[in-house]
């Protein structure tokens, strides 16, 4: 057996993400990827069965990378406010510093590859973060809450700020720049809403 060339695989992966992000899934194909990555199509087919397999594998890897970034330094046993703040900091850092990864994720979210990727993300999040909300309820820090309502109140406001930042403006073209101060101010309202 020949040794696996990790640099080559990494190059293929990065190029695929870049192409899908910039040109969409419809125009993506292994031949075009091979040309762009400077490898032969056969090399790609050694690692991946076909186009679907390649997109599925790469999207799951990217999804998990996002999970691990989100959960860095986080523990499901943490007090509610502390744990949620770590998630906000991690999520904002990932969203602001991984524009390509985030756009790739958005492209896939509306595709047929969505299911496998979301399952991988959700399995990992359930394992590491799932008990966090339950623990907070058990300790009497927050009320019983469905995941949908929890997400909408506890996490979604952060992504509104990120979106304003990425658009570079909020309402009526008003200039907006994300900062930790604004994030903390928003976070404090979220905590006020959720904590008993």
């Amino acid at each position: 057996m020949r040794p696996r060339d990790e640099n080559k695989i990494q190059g293929i992966r990065e190029k695929a993400i870049e192409m899908i992000t910039n040109e969409g899934l419809e125009n993506f194909g292994i031949n075009r990827l091979a040309k762009a990555a400077g490898v032969s199509p056969a090399t790609i087919y050694i690692y991946y069965k076909d186009k679907d397999d390649l997109i599925n594998q790469i999207s799951i890897e990217e999804g998990l990378r996002m999970c691990y970034a989100t959960l860095e330094g986080f523990d499901a046993e943490m007090p509610f406010e502390k744990g949620l703040w770590i998630q906000w900091k991690n999520r904002s850092k990932y969203a602001l510093n991984n524009q390509v990864g985030a756009s790739f994720y958005d492209q896939l979210r509306n595709s047929t590859y969505r299911e496998k990727m979301l399952k991988a993300i959700s399995d990992e999040m359930k394992k590491k973060a799932g008990p966090f909300v339950k623990n907070a309820i058990k300790r009497g820090e927050i009320n019983e809450i469905s995941m949908e309502v929890f997400w909408s109140v506890a996490i979604a406001p952060l992504y509104s700020l990120v979106k304003f930042h990425q658009d570079e403006h909020s309402f009526s073209g008003k200039k907006f720049v994300f900062s930790e101060k604004i994030m903390k101010e928003t976070f404090n309202y979220v905590i006020k809403a959720l904590k008993k």
Partner: protein, 77 residues
């Protein structure tokens, strides 16, 4: 994925483009006892055939596919 490139993965360029072509090939490849796994990426312009076999060579697969009147050529890395 494993840590080494397995040499029993054989990659070919073909003209197996349509669903009925795929069916013709399927009947032969599915029942071949020396073929572990195979698939064709019909989304690719080269309709790439990927075969996993510990015993068959490129020439063996080309012979099988050509025998079914399809074009088949090794895709080199």
């Amino acid at each position: 994925m494993c840590n080494n490139i397995p040499e029993h993965i054989l990659i070919f360029k073909t003209n197996i483009t349509a669903e009925r072509d795929l069916f013709a090939v399927k009947t032969v490849l599915d029942t071949h006892h020396l073929i572990e796994q195979w698939n064709i990426d019909q989304t690719d312009v080269d309709c790439v055939l990927r075969v996993i076999s510990y015993h068959l060579s490129y020439a063996d697969i080309i012979q099988i596919i050509s025998g079914l009147n399809y074009f088949c050529e090794e895709l080199t890395t």
